[in-house]
């Protein structure tokens, strides 16, 4: 064993370990650890790797279903899509690294999630990302966003995975703590799944991929501590991604897996070699012994501590069938990638690290994984924020102007500036490109396609984390249903503040509860996810932001639907309630509108500034399920020609969006007649859930109404598709009338305009 430097309180603090945790280490080992061992414990017991604050709560999520082949616990969840095919998918956060170095932080986030997918044997066929930044009128926020988007593009485009969707949200609370969540999905045959298990005593353990450098040492513990001013200066070493190497690694790994000589494989993500060795051993109840001298190294003189904790990217650990190593080595030579046997599987359950034969660490694998500490941290609901009083004073009636204001909001405008930088077409499977409710990727040589989307809503979750989480799940399912899909399963990323604060833990319990309820109601088990805590800067937490990634199946592909008007003359119909429980929305919006300066644009983001602070609407899960069922049945019976869900910005924004041009097609408008009974602002602009706009041929309206009646879902025929103009009328009066081209211009140019001046 190494000479043992004194483990002082200071050393423990640097490693983010408490005294109680240290005592536990002492009793596990029956001696004091050396520094390498302490480092290994600290990364494996960090929040990032152990989920010590969240694990007990996450157990409440539904994870079972006939379609689920692999639930949480592996590198990614796996779902059966029939005919022998399966998909693996997962979402991961890279929030802190993206704040420190936006380009590389985001790029390596993409690299990490892609490895999680292909380590299971699946070829990545789609990626998405969920992004949150501070308001884009501030140069610093723009610079972060510019770097993040470029980093995602730089990595994904080079790797050759289409980035087909995602979301972008701007809110003040993300100024000091942007959220960058990356999602990837891969396709394989379900009899060719690989797991991260070190089975077979005596089997060689093989290191493949990039050489190890001093990258991101302590990255995992960093992701588990708040940022403060000191960390700006003593910023840790950030990793640089190498997408070209990752592409070669993908091809080599998939080729090696075909030989049958690979018995287990796992990527080296956070906590690199440490995490992959002890997890592979832990899952198989075996031990692993490796010699660090054999690990390919990029820098000279690295210590065992550094090698074990390095977070160098583009590396994998695999366990081969004894005697078949050469088959694997040959493939990696062809792709010009390092592959070296560094140790073997043992029967004693220990993680044993040697350095030129000399033992430098020995810890039971399970002590690092399954037996890591778990906390039931104190939970306390914060005092309820009283709803802001209904404002007094003049109310505006200029609904057309309000719609223009909404479409000009960075939170509602076109995301084209972002997704144009992503190759969303490579692999020629993307049959619904970004811009619709869900992205759709076909499965070649089959009648299947996969629909997917990411949804989150921090502003609702801030007001009511439970309902907010339900709304996010409901919206993501609704998005898939609009595309013609049957939702299959979900993944999620919980982005939250400091779990040592009882009100943050309360948010987490509420979010998990809401997500569980909604996923149960909608029949979409959660197959995995990621928790990112300590998203705070200088004590100021972000809004609790669960991001839901939902995956659904379209089969046959002819059920694919777009979220836009198809042809003039079609009827425009609303499924779901015209209005929900009154929210006071209408008068508040009109009040703010009346006070809005005439200079539209420059900084006056009415939607984000005011509307975004209005109360979270209640959700009737049972109604939601029935609305979605109606839409699905309408599509399956070929009645519904297109469908778009009403979410941010309400019905009016959804109507406008349905008319905007797509490549090669002109704009279309709608002539809408509202019933006289309801308040216009509530109908058009309030964000009631469980509402879907659909278009049908005149003669199919009755059939659709019948389906809805059987489901007990309200249906309102609103009007028809017409050329060029969006007009909303009530009997005897015009509510708003705008040319769709002019609305589209406002909507399309918002982000592009903000980023016109490069930084």
């Amino acid at each position: 064993m190494q000479a043992n430097p004194a483990i002082t309180a200071e050393v423990l603090e640097q490693h983010n370990l408490t005294h109680a945790e240290y005592d536990r280490i002492l009793s596990i080992l029956g001696r004091s650890p050396n520094l390498t061992e302490l480092g290994i414990f600290s990364v494996m017991w960090s929040e990032h790797c152990s989920y010590k604050s969240s694990k007990l709560h996450l157990k409440r999520l539904p994870t079972q279903g006939p379609q689920v082949l692999q639930g949480p616990g592996e590198n990614a969840g796996i779902v059966d899509i029939g005919d022998g095919y399966a998909v693996a998918f997962k979402i991961e956060s890279h929030n802190h690294p993206s704040f420190v170095e936006p380009y590389q932080g985001a790029a390596t986030g993409v690299g990490g999630i892609l490895r999680d997918i292909f380590t299971m044997g699946a070829r990545p066929i789609a990626a998405m990302n969920s992004l949150r930044f501070g308001p884009p009128d501030q140069p610093r926020n723009r610079r972060i966003m510019e770097g993040v988007v470029a980093g995602i593009a730089g990595y994904g485009n080079c790797f050759g995975v289409p980035t087909v969707g995602g979301e972008v949200v701007f809110e003040e609370c993300y100024s000091q703590n942007p959220l960058v969540n990356a999602f990837a999905l891969g396709l394989f045959r379900k009899d060719r799944i690989f797991y991260g298990k070190a089975v077979g005593i005596g089997n060689p353990v093989i290191y493949v991929g990039a050489k190890t450098g001093r990258d991101g040492i302590h990255g995992a513990t960093m992701a588990s501590a708040e940022f403060d001013e000191a960390s700006e200066s003593k910023r840790p070493n950030v990793q640089v991604g190498d997408p070209f190497l990752e592409k070669l690694l993908l091809e080599a790994c998939l080729e090696a897996m075909k030989t049958g000589a690979v018995v287990g494989i796992q990527d080296m993500g956070a906590a690199g070699l440490t995490c992959s060795t002890c997890e592979m051993g832990g899952r198989a109840d075996t031990g692993i012994e490796i010699d660090l001298a054999r690990v390919p190294q990029r820098e000279k003189g690295m210590t065992p501590y550094e090698i074990m904790l390095s977070e160098s990217q583009e590396r994998m650990l695999l366990v081969a069938a004894k005697g078949r190593e050469e088959e694997i080595f040959r493939i990696f030579r062809k792709w010009e990638i390092d592959a070296v046997a560094i140790g073997e599987v043992t029967g004693d359950g220990m993680l044993r690290i040697l350095d030129r034969g000399r033992e430098v660490a020995e810890i039971p694998n399970r002590a690092l994984t399954d037996e890591a500490p778990l906390y039931r941290r104190p939970v306390a609901a914060p005092a309820r924020v009283p709803p802001s009083p209904t404002p007094a004073g003049a109310l505006s009636n200029d609904w057309g102007k309000l719609l223009e204001c909404f479409l000009a909001s960075p939170n509602l405008s076109s995301r084209e500036w972002v997704y144009r930088q992503y190759d969303h077409m490579v692999r020629t499977n993307t049959v619904q490109v970004p811009g619709a409710d869900a992205a759709v990727v076909r499965v070649k040589n089959s009648r299947k396609a996969l629909a997917m989307c990411l949804d989150g809503n921090g502003r609702y979750c801030r007001q009511d984390p439970r309902v907010g989480a339900q709304l996010a799940v409901a919206e993501s399912c609704r998005n898939l249903v609009c595309a013609g899909a049957r939702p299959l399963a979900a993944t999620n990323c919980l982005n939250m503040g400091n779990p040592e604060k009882p009100e943050i833990m309360w948010q987490m319990t509420q979010v998990v509860e809401g997500m569980a309820e909604a996923c149960r109601a909608l029949g979409t088990p959660v197959t995995g996810g990621n928790v990112s805590l300590y998203n705070e800067t200088l004590g100021e937490g972000i809004d609790p932001t669960p991001v839901i990634g939902m995956v659904g199946l379209i089969e046959p592909l002819s059920r694919l639907r777009g979220s836009w008007f198809v042809r003039e003359g079609h009827r425009v119909v609303l499924l779901g309630p015209l209005v929900g429980q009154p929210t006071g929305y209408s008068s508040a919006v009109r009040h703010h509108l009346a006070r809005l300066q005439p200079s539209r644009g420059n900084g006056t983001d009415l939607y984000t500034g005011w509307v975004g602070r209005l109360p979270c609407p209640p959700l009737d899960l049972d109604l939601e399920v029935r609305v979605q069922r109606t839409c699905r049945e309408g599509i399956e019976r070929d009645l519904i020609l297109s469908a778009h869900d009403c979410s941010d910005g309400g019905l009016a924004v959804a109507l406008a969006e349905m008319g905007f041009s797509r490549f090669g097609a002109g704009t279309l408008g709608a002539d809408i007649l509202l019933p006289p009974t309801e308040e216009v602002g509530e109908v058009l602009f309030a964000e009631y859930p469980s509402r879907i706009l659909v278009t049908v041929e005149e003669e199919n309206l009755v059939a659709l109404e019948k389906i809805a009646a059987l489901q007990g879902v309200p249906v309102t025929p609103l009007g028809r598709v017409v050329p060029e103009v969006l007009s909303v009328r009530r009997p005897g009066s015009v509510v708003l009338e705008r040319s769709v081209v002019s609305l589209e211009e406002i909507w399309r140019n918002c982000l592009g305009g903000l980023f016109a001046d490069p930084l």
């Binding site: 450098g213 070493n237 070209f244 010009e336």
Partner: protein, 80 residues
């Protein structure tokens, strides 16, 4: 006056471009190379009224705040 600012990745940071170029140079027959690293440089021309000290102060600021991210990059410069 003209300043030349050289920006490169810190030595401890992986330089995938340099590494790939090195590898390819070896493959096409340049065997005697032991390492390649890649960087960027910027030629910045300043209006002639500025003194050398003023230029120097501006350049340092630009290099530090705009042209590099100190987390992964370092710079050097020359004024001509």
């Amino acid at each position: 006056m003209r300043a030349r600012v050289y920006v490169s990745l810190k030595k401890s940071v992986l330089d995938p471009q340099g590494k790939t170029i090195h590898h390819s140079l070896q493959n096409i027959g340049f065997q005697q190379i032991t390492e390649v690293r890649q960087g960027k440089f910027f030629e910045i021309d300043f209006a002639s009224e500025l003194t050398r000290e003023e230029v120097q102060a501006e350049v340092e600021k630009i290099a530090r705040d705009v042209l590099t991210n100190p987390v992964i990059e370092e710079f050097s410069y020359r004024i001509e």
